[in-house]
């Protein structure tokens, strides 16, 4: 499915205007300084913040279109969202965290657990099933959070700085794990990150926004060899 979104958000603190396209199974990395509006983009796409102007379409489905008075709730969109700090439900085991989505969508608790167990197995996490979030390492809880976001086979996967809370070594390891997980599920993915390495390994396309505006898009190599702004140059370590 193709995600196509053009929208504006006008807040006292943020004036955002972007357009985004992601093809099925592809990953778009969005980079930019703090306060550029990256997380707001995620919230708009997830349906947590309605857009003011523009539209968010997924193939023929309308997710948000103020002109047509249409707004699809987060539950109706089937997005997977993963936060920087993972936000696993602490009172639930890893398995029940993953089963939360299927359960919320009406599956019986047994079927939801079955689906969650299958998902954990697919991602090679079966041995963590009965662990509580407090017992998981940073990398482990990151993978479980990703499993939770993937289990419903989301149309759009939103990763908001998924690796930021991990140390450098774990991050390198997790990057290849995530790449494998994405290959297994093939969602259209938007990855928010500060690290060009994340973008290089996980995304086919990179988009840089500054102060709510897209300043450049292209592949990692294009951006690092022909940076459009000083910020992009600094980010990719070009001359």
């Amino acid at each position: 499915m193709t995600i196509s979104a053009t929208f504006e958000v006008a807040w006292p603190t943020l004036d955002l205007s972007v357009d985004i396209h992601v093809e099925t199974g592809r990953t778009l990395a969005i980079m930019g300084p703090n306060g550029a509006g990256k997380s707001t983009i995620v919230r708009c796409l997830a349906g947590l913040t309605p857009i003011r102007v523009g539209h968010i379409h997924v193939d023929d489905a309308i997710w948000d279109d103020p002109n047509m008075g249409q707004f699809l709730s987060p539950a109706g969109r089937n997005v997977g969202l993963m936060f920087q700090d993972h936000l696993l439900f602490r009172h639930l085991t890893a398995l029940d965290n993953v089963a939360f989505g299927p359960r919320a969508r009406g599956l019986s608790s047994r079927d939801a657990r079955g689906k969650a167990a299958a998902c954990l197995e697919r991602l090679g996490l079966s041995e963590l099933a009965n662990a509580r979030p407090a017992q998981l390492s940073g990398g482990q809880s990151q993978r479980v959070a990703l499993a939770r976001a993937l289990v419903n086979k989301p149309t759009l996967l939103l990763l908001d700085e998924p690796l930021a809370s991990l140390d450098v070594v774990t991050r390198r390891h997790m990057r290849s794990e995530i790449a494998r997980d994405l290959t297994a599920y093939q969602p259209s993915t938007i990855l928010i990150t500060h690290d060009p390495e994340d973008a290089r390994h996980l995304a086919q396309e990179v988009m840089v926004i500054e102060a709510g505006r897209v300043v450049q898009r292209g592949t990692h190599d294009e951006l690092s060899s022909h940076p459009a702004t000083p910020y992009v140059a600094e980010l990719f370590g070009s001359r």
């Binding site: 987060p74 539950a75 936060f83 602490r90 939360f100 419903n152």
Partner: protein, 284 residues
């Protein structure tokens, strides 16, 4: 004695490196000790004076058993009612921006600081038989609250619910709203998220609030005697029975007091370890 204890502690910890920097100032220890004694001594006084030889006879007296049973029943019902209405109220106060929210919060907590007798007066003149609303309850539905067990429960809810609302509201407010966001994207309806994310996350505050409300209801005296009266078997709860006994037979008042203390203390102790370890700090 405290100074000798204090100075020896001071000396050892000044040169013993491990404890250094974590010492408790002597003055703090002394003041804290006095505070603890202040709560301990009255109970020692009570235990010494209890007529142990007659205690069993007094405690198993039919009148006392009725009062105790009535107290346990009404305060449990009052705590359940407080939870049923208080948890939604706590949620609204913590999450929803409604006009006059601070006014509502002040109103809810008012009965915590009011003398309970005033609470009883307020209830009497609103829900009493000739009260503003009470007369319609009587005329239309035939419901009379004063001098009934239902009246006891109403009086208890009036003074107890604020404890639950305040406890639970502060826990709801400390919840990271992004857990809700995560749950919403996973497909949860608001009701599903409430049951499976928000309420479990504040579980310890729910239990703490429930126990506080229950204990407050169990000890309710002023509003009960003002609004519901003092009828044996119907509205005479343990606190009322204890007060009455103090006038007639002080030694049995001691036994009744001991019973109430034991019941409350047992409940608080048994809940403490399991549920109240980290009150306030709650994330899902």
């Amino acid at each position: 004695m405290s100074s000798r204890f204090g100075s020896s502690r001071f000396g050892s910890s000044r040169f013993g490196t491990r404890q250094f920097g974590r010492r408790t100032p002597v003055a703090i220890s002394v003041l804290a000790g006095i505070a603890a004694l202040f709560f301990l001594l009255p109970f020692v006084g009570l235990l010494v004076r209890v007529p142990w030889s007659d205690a069993v006879k007094i405690a198993t007296d039919a009148e006392v058993r009725r009062a105790l049973w009535l107290s346990l029943q009404t305060s449990t019902i009052a705590a359940v009612i407080s939870a049923l209405f208080g948890i939604p109220l706590a949620w609204i106060l913590s999450r929803v921006h409604i006009p006059g929210r601070s006014f509502i919060r002040a109103l809810v907590t008012l009965s915590m600081v009011l003398p309970p007798v005033v609470g009883g007066v307020v209830l009497l003149f609103s829900f009493g038989r000739r009260g503003l609303f009470g007369q319609y309850l009587d005329d239309w539905f035939g419901i009379r609250l004063p001098f009934t067990t239902a009246g006891v429960v109403i009086a208890q809810v009036f003074v107890a619910m604020p404890f639950l609302v305040l406890t639970v509201e502060s826990a709801f407010r400390q919840l990271d709203a992004r857990y809700d966001d995560a749950a919403r994207t996973l497909g949860g309806s608001p009701w599903f998220i409430m049951r499976h994310v928000s309420l479990p996350a504040v579980r310890s505050a729910l239990v703490a609030g429930f126990v506080l409300a229950w204990a407050r209801a169990l000890g309710e005296f002023g509003a009960t005697i003002t609004f519901a009266g003092n009828l044996a078997g119907t509205t005479r709860t343990m606190p009322l029975a204890t007060y009455l006994a103090l006038e007639n037979d002080p030694s049995s008042a001691l036994v009744l007091s001991l019973i109430m203390i034991s019941v409350s203390f047992l409940v608080l102790i048994s809940l403490r370890d399991r549920w109240l370890e980290t009150p306030g700090r709650s994330t899902p």
